[in-house]
Symmetry: C2
Subunit: 105 residues, 2 copies
C-alpha cells in the first residue's frame, strides 16, 4: 500500500501518517469499514471488495485469484481504526489547546 | 483482547494505549511478531500460536477449533507494529525535547 492521501494529521503528528495509511482501504482510500482480509493478506472494506469481486475474481492489489469465500473478517483492524481515530482526535486537541509559548504568570 | 500492560507510553500519549494493546499478542503480551490470524479473527505471533497448537487444537482466545492450516499471515499488523513503534519513539522525543515552559528570550 503505497498510495498517498492529502495530509490530514495535525502538526507534530505527521509521524502517524504511515499508521493512518495502513488503516485505509486501497479501493476507496477511506479508513477500513468492516475489514475483510484475502488469502494474499490484503485488506479491503467489506462492501468495496464484494463490489469489485462482482466484476473480477482477483485481488485488486496483487491480482491473485480470489473469491468471496476466501474473504475473512479482520476485526482487529476495525478496532484499530476506531481507537486510532479517537487517539488522533485527542492528540490534535492537546496540540491546539496548548499555546506555543506559555505566558509568564 | 482486554489484557492490561503496565503503562509504557510517555506522558500525553496515553490515548494511544488502546492502539498499542491491539498490536500485542494475547500469548506473550509483546508486540506481534509475524502475525498469524485464525478463522475466528484472532491474532498471535507465528511462533506463539504454533507452540500452543502443538498442545491443543483450539484458539487460545475463544476456544474455536483450530489447526495450523487455518492460520493466515496478517501482514498489515506487522507493518502497523513497525510504524507504530517508530511513531511512538518520535512522539516521545518531541515531548521530552520540548521544555514544559518556554523561557523568555
Ligand atoms: Zn473501501
Ligand atoms: Zn492480494
Ligand atoms: Zn506472541
Ligand atoms: Zn479465536
Amino acid at each position: 500500500m503505497t498510495f498517498q492521501n492529502e495530509a490530514d494529521l495535525p502538526p507534530g503528528l505527521e509521524c502517524l501518517k504511515n499508521v493512518d495509511n495502513l488503516l485505509r482501504c486501497p479501493i476507496c482510500f477511506d479508513h477500513l469499514d468492516i475489514s475483510m482480509m484475502t488469502k494474499c493478506s490484503h485488506n479491503f472494506c467489506s462492501l468495496c471488495i464484494r463490489k469489485f469481486l462482482s466484476y473480477k475474481l482477483l485481488c485488486p492489489v496483487c491480482n491473485s485469484e480470489l473469491t468471496e469465500q476466501d474473504l475473512r473478517n479482520n476485526r482487529v483492524l476495525d478496532e484499530l481504526v476506531a481507537n486510532f481515530q479517537a487517539a488522533r482526535l485527542r492528540l490534535s486537541k492537546v496540540h491546539f489547546d496548548s499555546p506555543p509559548i506559555s505566558p509568564k504568570t
